[in-house]
Structure formats: structure tokens, C-alpha cells
């Protein structure tokens, strides 16, 4: 059962004490009159004529008929009382306390919101359109590479991975392949995925998270440098060269 809040228990306690002081005055059968002082604060008392009707219908001698009206704060039932009235003169009892928010989540702050249509959909539509236009025009002028038929017996020099793996290939020149090809990217991805669980700083403001921001920036700069070196500064035998030394080849061969 739900815990009864302290202030309600206290109120019940006070009322019980007050009624005990009046000593039997409540047995007159007219609860509305006897409790007039206490009932000022709660207007939800059952009207007297309804109580009488309940009493008549349920039969006076049956406590079971009024079981629902028996207070949770069980005190011995005085036989002289009308059946519909609780031992402390209560005509209602606390069944449960429904906490605010358990039925309906009332948002404290409505927030500043706008309709998705048109405000967001228009932006998305324009972005999609611009992207399509760019892609179409770019594809008209720049062809995707198609070199000669694959030949397993003819290894091009240098052999390069797709550009997004060139950082890894670059690491291969520095570390053991297991470290460069598996451990570093694996740890990188896992570390990245765990960022939300590692970083306990709740702030989203860049000024509060200088370390995290600089860490990612350094990481990305490092990675971009490796990719650029791998793409443009690696010639025959994957040796370091200047991009123009072997002639400028098609940079869109990717």
C-alpha cells in the first residue's frame, strides 16, 4: 500500500484527539452537526441524507455493509454510532494517495516549441534538394573510377585501402599489424561508444567540458592527418613522398 504522507497522518491524529475530547458527542447520529468545526476545511463530507439512506439500505446490524467506510486507522468501533460513520466520526477514509505525476505527467515547463510542419520539414526538404542537386551535378562531371580488370598477379605499387581506412594503413607503418589493424581501431570504437558512460560531467556547455572537447579535436586532427598523409604523401613501397613528385594523379580515384 502507498505510504500515507505525514501531513495526512498528522491531520487524522489531530482530529482523533479533538473528537476524543468531545467524548461521545459524535454519537448523536448527525455527523454534519457534530463535526461542523472540523469540517470547515474539507467540503467532501457525505451529506447526512445520503448516509441515512445507506444506513437504511445496508441494515443497521451489519458491519460488513459499511466495511468500505471503516477507517484505515482502525480504532474500536463504538456500537452506539451510526453504521455509516467511522469510529472517529469520519465519513470518509483515505484509501490511497495518488502522487502527482503518477497518472499524468504534467510538464512544469511547456518549453518553446514549433510545429515540425512547416518549420522542420522545409529545412529538411531544402537540405535534401541541395544534396541531390550537388550529387547530380558532381556526378555529371566526375566519373567514378573503373580501372583495369582485377588481376591478382599484378600488384599495384602502392596498394592502398579505401581512404577511410588509410589512417589504419598509416598506423601499420608504425606498429605491429595486430596493434594497428585491430587493437587501436577496436579500442577506439569501444572507447567512443562508452563515452556516455565514462564522462560523468553532466554539462553540455563547451566551456564546462574543455577536456572532452579538446580530446576529440586532437583525436580527429590526428586521424585526419594520417588519412591525408596516407592519401597524398605515400608513393611506391608506401614510402613518404611529396604529392607532386610522382605527378598529380586523379585524386578522385577513390
Amino acid at each position: 500500500m502507498t505510504e500515507i504522507p505525514e501531513h495526512l497522518l498528522k491531520r487524522a491524529q489531530e482530529r482523533r484527539a479533538r473528537l476524543a475530547g468531545q467524548a461521545g458527542g459524535a454519537s448523536s447520529g448527525e455527523p454534519g452537526a457534530t463535526e461542523s468545526q472540523a469540517s470547515a476545511e474539507d467540503g467532501e463530507k457525505i451529506p447526512a441524507h445520503l448516509l441515512q439512506r445507506i444506513a437504511q439500505a445496508g441494515g443497521q446490524g451489519q458491519p460488513g455493509a459499511v466495511a468500505t467506510a471503516t477507517p484505515a486507522t482502525a480504532a474500536p468501533v463504538a456500537p452506539s454510532r451510526p453504521a455509516a460513520v467511522g469510529p472517529a466520526g469520519h465519513t470518509q477514509r483515505l484509501l490511497t494517495v495518488v502522487k502527482a505525476g503518477s497518472i499524468q505527467d504534467v510538464k512544469a515547463t511547456p518549453g518553446d516549441k514549433v510545429h515540425v510542419w512547416p518549420h522542420l520539414l522545409v529545412v529538411e526538404f531544402v537540405a535534401a534538394l541541395a544534396m541531390t542537386a550537388f550529387l547530380l551535378v558532381f556526378s555529371m562531371f566526375v566519373n567514378a573510377p573503373l580501372l583495369g580488370l582485377a588481376n591478382p598477379n599484378l600488384t599495384p605499387n602502392p596498394s592502398k585501402a579505401p581512404w577511410y581506412f588509410l589512417g589504419l594503413q598509416e598506423l601499420l607503418t608504425m606498429f605491429h599489424p595486430m596493434v594497428a589493424g585491430v587493437t587501436i581501431p577496436g579500442m577506439g570504437l569501444i572507447g567512443l561508444g562508452a563515452a556516455g558512460y565514462i564522462d560523468k560531467n553532466p554539462s553540455q556547455k563547451p566551456e564546462d567540458r574543455k577536456f572532452a572537447v579538446s580530446l576529440l579535436t586532437v583525436f580527429m586532427m590526428f586521424w585526419a592527418t594520417l588519412v591525408i598523409i596516407g592519401s597524398f604523401f605515400r608513393g611506391e613501397g608506401f614510402n613518404f613522398i611529396m604529392p607532386w613528385e610522382q605527378g598529380v594523379h586523379d585524386i578522385f580515384d577513390l
Binding site: F138, P145, L147
Partner: protein, 265 residues
């Protein structure tokens, strides 16, 4: 508004009976068939009048748009905040799906036919070269936009609770994007494809303990050959797209469940 859609039937019968287009259109739009197809608020019902109710209907009653909530935080629609990168990644994925389906009609994943199919696609299929170019460049752009989206989300601190799990989903999506791009790289079966994939799979072969097994499974043999091509083709056109769609669905759903996009800063 209905009068703007003027479509004469052109056979001359029009002039005899003279039923106004608008009236005819209203009759069609009021028909049970029409109303069963288009939900309330659809612009195809009675035209669109701007009202808060209709603005909500546009989102709620469209299978495409209802990925969105009806309303979002005001800062969330600012391009300067999101740079549209997540949306563009998704859009590029759709783009790649459409162009990819086109390419599938002209491609057979065997070592004997793959390169020739691509070559004849470029020379003898209408728009074949253009569509292939778009597929290729969209793929590179998607890798880029997914990566930049990740950076944007990181810089906004959006990987923090309550969005930490969606960030993990995002990392999985990044990985799947790279895998999709990499498996597609082999399919033209030219020198570029063969050797880029050789370098890539050799790296994966250094996986601790299971290295050679991983490489064998990936290649479908000891060397890159026609089995590899079939394997990577299936991965590229079916398996990875299947997975990425599932993870994208979770990703988008979680964006909403975690309280919309992050911010404002």
C-alpha cells in the same frame, strides 16, 4: 486552389457538358475511395489550409513524416545547430538504396562478369554511368556525413545521459556505414577494388586468436576470388542494409524517447 490543377481531357467532350473542373475534383476528393486513401489533413483531400490542427495532421497522418513529433524545440530546427548532418546521412542512405537497386539490374557478382557488367553499364545503359557515379559519390559522402554527425553530436555533449545508449547505437551505425562502403568497394572488380580490399582484409587477418579464420570467412577462401565477390555482394546489398535499417529505426525512435535532440546549449 483547386482551379490551379487544370487538366482538360482534350477530346472535346468537355465543351458540351461544361462541368467545372473544381466541381469534378471535389466529387473525386469526396468519394469513399479517395477518402480511404488519404487521411484527414492530407493536402490531397480538400487542399491545405494552414491551421495548427492541419499542421499536426500533416505529421501524424503521413507514414513518412510521422517519424517526427508534431512539435519540436525551437532551437532544434536551426540548421546552425544540427547542420542537418543526421538527416543528410539518412537521406544519402535512401539515395544509395534507390541508385543501388538500379545498379543491381545490370550486375552479376562473379569474377568473370562483374567488371564487364560495370563497363557495359557505363557505356550502353541509359544513365548507367550517371547512376553509378551518384552511387559512388553518395557512398563517400555518407561516410563523411555520418562521421561529421558523430563529431557534431560529441561537441554538443549529446552523448551524455539520457542519450548515452543512442550514442552507442550511433557508433554501431557508423561501423555499419563503413562496412557497407567497404563491401561495395570490391564489387566493380577492378584493380582499385581488388587491392584496396586485399589491404583491408589483410589488416582484419591480424585479429588476435581468430585472425586467419576471420579472414577465411570474409574471403570465402584463402584468396580474394569469385566466392569473395558473391559473399561481399550479399553482405552489401542485403545483410548490412538489413541491419542498418533496424539500427536506424532504433536510433530515430530513441531520439524521440530520450526527449528529442539535445540542447539548447
Amino acid at each position: 486552389m483547386a482551379k490551379q490543377i487544370t487538366r482538360g481531357n482534350g477530346d472535346g467532350t468537355d465543351s458540351k457538358r461544361r462541368v467545372p473542373i473544381g466541381e469534378r475534383l471535389a466529387k473525386v476528393q469526396g468519394s469513399p475511395l479517395w477518402t480511404s486513401i488519404f487521411r484527414p489533413g492530407s493536402i490531397f483531400r480538400k487542399g491545405y489550409t494552414d491551421s495548427p490542427r492541419n499542421r499536426s495532421y500533416v505529421i501524424m497522418n503521413s507514414v513518412l513524416f510521422h517519424l517526427h513529433p508534431v512539435k519540436v524545440k525551437r532551437h532544434a530546427v536551426k540548421v546552425s545547430y544540427t547542420l542537418c548532418l543526421g538527416g543528410l546521412s539518412f537521406f544519402l542512405f535512401i539515395h544509395l538504396t534507390v541508385t543501388g537497386i538500379f545498379l543491381m539490374f545490370f550486375y552479376r557478382p562473379t569474377a568473370a562478369q562483374a567488371w564487364n557488367d560495370i563497363a557495359s553499364l557505363q557505356t550502353s545503359v541509359t544513365f548507367g554511368l550517371l547512376v553509378r557515379n551518384m552511387h559512388r559519390w553518395a557512398a563517400h559522402l555518407m561516410v563523411l556525413s555520418v562521421f561529421l554527425h558523430m563529431a557534431r553530436v560529441f561537441y554538443h555533449g549529446a552523448y551524455k545521459p539520457p542519450r548515452e545508449f543512442n550514442w552507442v547505437i550511433g557508433i554501431i551505425l557508423l561501423t555499419l556505414t563503413l562496412l557497407l562502403s567497404f563491401t561495395g568497394y570490391l564489387l566493380p572488380w577492378d584493380q582499385l577494388a581488388l587491392w584496396a580490399v586485399t589491404v583491408g582484409t589483410n589488416m582484419m587477418g591480424y585479429t588476435p586468436v581468430f585472425g586467419s579464420q576471420v579472414r577465411f570467412v570474409l574471403l570465402g577462401g584463402a584468396e580474394i576470388g569469385t566466392d569473395t565477390l558473391l559473399r561481399w555482394y550479399v553482405l552489401h546489398v542485403l545483410m548490412f542494409p538489413f541491419f542498418i535499417v533496424i539500427f536506424m529505426a532504433i536510433h530515430f525512435w530513441r531520439v524521440r524517447k530520450d526527449g528529442g535532440i539535445s540542447g539548447p546549449l
